[in-house]
C-alpha cells in the first residue's frame, strides 16, 4: 500500500500549533508534470553513476510502499514536531 496521508504537526516555542495534512495521491497527481521531468533526470543520474535504473526504480518503489506506519515525534522543551505517514 502506498502512503495515503502524511500528517505534519508542530508546536512552536510560543505555544502556537499547526497541523498539516498532505494527501499523497492528489498531491502526486498535481506534481505529476514535475515527476515526469524527474524520471529522465533520474535515468541520466543512474547511467552517470553506473547504477541499474531498474534496480533503482524497484528500490524506490519498495521504499515508498514500506513507508506507511512511519512516525517521528520530537519534543524539545515547548517545541514539538510530529510527522506521521499513513
Amino acid at each position: 500500500m502506498i502512503p495515503q496521508l502524511v500528517t505534519v504537526r508542530y508546536r512552536r516555542s510560543d505555544g502556537r500549533r499547526r497541523r498539516l495534512f498532505v494527501p499523497v495521491l492528489p498531491v502526486g497527481l498535481v506534481l505529476s508534470p514535475l515527476l515526469l521531468l524527474a524520471v529522465p533526470a533520474g535515468l541520466v543520474a543512474c547511467l552517470a553513476t553506473r547504477v541499474s535504473p531498474v534496480g533503482a526504480l524497484r528500490g524506490t518503489g519498495q521504499l515508498l510502499w514500506a513507508l506507511p506506519g512511519t512516525r517521528f515525534e520530537i519534543e524539545y522543551g515547548r517545541t514539538a514536531v510530529l510527522v506521521s505517514v499513513r
Binding site: A66, G69, R71
Partner: protein, 143 residues
C-alpha cells in the same frame, strides 16, 4: 487446568469457600503469573512490525527543558533501505572504505553483502536496548 485452580474449584464445590472468595483466589493466582502461557498456547508470537526508538530526557543540564523523541519505523522500510545498498557502485564503496580506514575504522564495506544485512534485520525482532540514566532514558525495541 492447573492444580491450584482445580483445588480452588474443589473447595468451592465442597462449600469451603464462597463463589466470591473463589473468584478472588483465582484472580490472585492469575496476578501471580502474568507470564503464564495463554499466549503461548494460542500459537506462535506474532512477528513485530515496527522498530521503536524512544528517548526521554529531563533537561536539567541547562538545556531548553525536557525532551522526548519517539520514532516508529516499519521493519519493512528497513528491509527496503537495506536492499537499496546493493545499488551503491563498487567504486563508491572503495572510496568509503579508504575514508573509513583513514579515520581509524577499518571496515571493509564490500564484504557486507545485502543478504547479511537482511539477516541482521530479521534478527532485529528480538532486540531490546534499555539505557537508564538519571537524566535520560533510551529504549530501542520491536513491537
Amino acid at each position: 487446568m492447573d492444580e491450584q485452580r482445580r483445588h480452588i474449584l474443589e473447595m468451592l464445590a465442597e462449600g469451603k469457600v464462597t463463589a466470591d472468595e473463589a473468584e478472588r483466589l483465582i484472580d490472585a493466582l492469575e496476578r501471580e503469573r502474568p507470564e503464564s502461557p495463554p499466549r503461548a498456547a494460542s500459537g506462535p508470537k506474532p512477528r513485530p512490525k515496527y522498530l521503536r526508538v524512544m528517548v526521554n530526557w529531563a533537561g536539567d543540564s541547562g538545556g531548553d527543558g525536557p525532551g522526548r523523541v519517539n520514532v516508529r519505523v516499519p521493519l519493512q522500510l528497513l528491509r527496503a533501505g537495506v536492499r537499496l545498498t546493493s545499488l551503491v557502485p563498487p567504486q563508491a564503496l572503495t572510496k568509503v572504505n579508504a575514508k573509513l580506514d583513514k579515520s581509524g575504522v577499518p571496515i571493509d564495506l564490500t564484504e557486507l553483502k545485502p543478504q547479511h544485512l537482511e539477516e541482521l534485520i530479521e534478527q532485529l525482532d528480538d532486540v531490546t536496548v534499555d539505557v537508564d540514566d538519571p537524566d535520560a532514558k533510551v529504549q530501542v525495541f520491536c513491537e
